[in-house]
Symmetry: C2
Subunit: 346 residues, 2 copies
DNA sequence: AGGGTCTCTGTAACCGCTTACGGTGAAACG
DNA sequence: CGTTTCACCGTAAGCGGTTACAGAGACCCT
């Protein structure tokens, strides 16, 4: 690989000039600039990233924190691939790469662990990262918040953080849920239950409040026994529906905070001999791939999955170049009507 | 962030000694070593990765090439998340990070594009990457092969490459397919068709040969009109079944080279008024999430998804530290019998 | 003609770490 | 007691860039 020095020698200039050609082109004479550029192209010159980062204290990498929740092993992100597609392509447009940080460092290494909050800061500094994108796995909220305070650019997904150069992106969870439940109400249901995610989870809480808002809008009395907590997993959806069906006055419709739980609910309903949507209408959230394939196809609230990544990339790039805090981004969440809610029969 | 020099000053030693404490501990006196270690821990010292990489020409990063096929936009990996989980956790154990390379560089940049084969080499050098993990998207086979020849450690997924420090990992596609088709034969089917992936795609070709081998084993005459090419997408599975059903002597069972196509096949069968598995038995490949959720649940050949990542990580680490070529890894592919093949009724 | 500006470029320090090399003092040796 | 040997450590030269600073001409002005 050609180095700057080789270019310099071949062009009869100093390395400083070569560097200037790429970083402050306007300060170098047009003739020499072209000469340098031509030789650089011939030798296929690429500035060494480590050297550049060392001297500028800035790399072209954004860190990605994506841990699987240690309290819930097997946790999976509902649409990681789409998110990454959006993130990567938007970052690529700025010439940035995505560094997926190792979760637990080599024991030989000097405290390379990411476990503690300062781990994030250390990683960011060690690699001169432009900033961090934080994917919520449900158990790092405190660490995220503390990193956000550190002043490094950072954008969290689906969890609110605050800091001098921090922001977050999330869906309009409350709005989406509200629309979903309103849809159910519009279909004539009034006994509508909901299965929430883990209490404390921000998207889940927002969806719950959207559910409540929709009932309030319609003047339907909320019932505590119609709100049952799940954990976003399929099994919890099944369990929730079993509990709901055991009530004296079981619901005729269920809004689940995730498609996985909606699928679990579907299985439970089927096992109980109920037909969906005739005996029990069902709406989910996320619009994961499964939603459209299950039978009946799931009515659900779709999130802008690649949009998450794109928004995160934009926000972090803005904070890197701008220097200030960015406004949180809330992406639209749209109801996708399929078969599980019963609208198509009506 | 504390630097080596600060540690050195506080300990009254030179920076060289500090460095040695971490890189060749046995060459430094125990007392001073402990002193340095203690101070380092107090100051929470972490060697700067850029500086280290610059001087050793070795970073602790592995590059990940994961492009979406430009000829088939919207291409998605069937189980990227599981693969990444395995890859990341295995690399983390060695203290390595995963760098997702930007696909198309900033235009301002000096030829930062990854498009051409040398793009890979350049990226690897610029960042002092330990090597590359290549995810096949169906259209980079030549670029992969050429990178493999470059001598940098590299492991490709689902596509064979060869080079001084290159290897690949793949599933036992042929064996898995053979088992699947043998299962169908065992259920009494003899008119078994197959839907392949894109011709030329290695896993697809291997699955096709497994299909043929199973027929041969059973003494069943292969029929050219029972082999129809798809592209791994759902729609192609639908189209394929429509063609198959139009034959004079339609098959009674279909082996699809991907679950997506199997789902498409399922939809086509249903649309044609056929019941699966009674009228048409179906087996897929991959065991993606959808497989277990679709109705009837898909019998399919399961790949060891996280195992892919783990094997890739192991192979590349071995090549980095070892220096030689590693044997290709072929992961077991196991038939998972569910409902779409009819075995459960029998 | 002397001085001030402006443009362009080279010199050299620096980023933080690694490592070849050489030096020092103590222990071991003849 | 002189000489080797060895363990330990410091000096300094990189790695490949960036950038503050200063110097050299060219040009314009009074």
């Amino acid at each position: 690989m050609a180095t700057g020095r080789e270019i310099a020698q071949l062009c009869g200039v100093s390395v400083a000039t070569v560097s200037r050609v790429f970083n402050q082109p306007e300060t170098v004479n047009e003739d020499t600039r072209e000469r340098v550029l031509r030789v650089a192209k011939e030798l296929d010159y690429r500035p060494n990233e480590s050297a550049r980062a060392l001297s500028t204290k800035q790399s072209t990498m954004i860190g990605l924190v994506w841990d699987t929740d240690h309290r819930r092993p097997g946790w999976r992100h509902p649409y990681l691939q789409d998110l990454l597609i959006g993130l990567k392509s938007a970052l690529s447009a700025h010439g940035y790469h995505l560094l997926m940080l190792a979760t637990s460092g080599d024991a030989r290494e000097v405290g390379a662990s990411l476990a503690d909050p300062v781990g994030y800061v250390n990683m960011t500094r060690r690699h001169h990262l432009g900033g961090l994108v934080l994917i919520d796995s449900g158990s790092d909220a405190e660490a995220f918040e503390s990193f956000a305070q550190s002043g490094f650019p950072c954008v969290a997904l689906d969890v609110a953080v605050d800091g001098p150069r921090a922001t977050y992106v999330t869906s309009d969870n409350s709005g989406g849920a509200r629309e979903a439940v309103a849809h159910l109400l519009g279909l004539g249901h009034s006994r509508i239950a909901t299965i929430t995610g883990p209490p404390g989870n921000q998207p889940s809480d927002a969806r719950l409040s959207g559910y409540r808002a929709a009932l309030r809008d319609a003047g339907v009395e909320p019932r505590a026994d119609y709100v049952v907590a799940g954990d976003f997993y399929r099994a919890s959806g099944t369990a929730a529906v079993q509990r709901l069906l055991a009530l004296d006055e079981p619901p005729t419709a269920v809004f689940a905070s995730s498609d996985e739980m909606a699928v679990g609910a579907l299985l439970a309903a089927r096992a109980a001999g109920l037909r969906v949507p005739r005996d029990l209408a069902l709406v989910g959230f996320d619009d994961i791939e499964i939603a459209s394939v299950v039978d009946p196809a799931l009515t659900t609230v779709a999130q802008d999955k690649p949009g998450f990544g794109v928004a995160a990339a934009k926000a972090i790039m803005a904070m890197i170049t701008g220097g200030g805090r960015e406004e949180p981004v809330v992406l639209p969440a749209k109801l996708v009507v399929r078969d599980s809610c019963g609208a198509r029969q009506g």
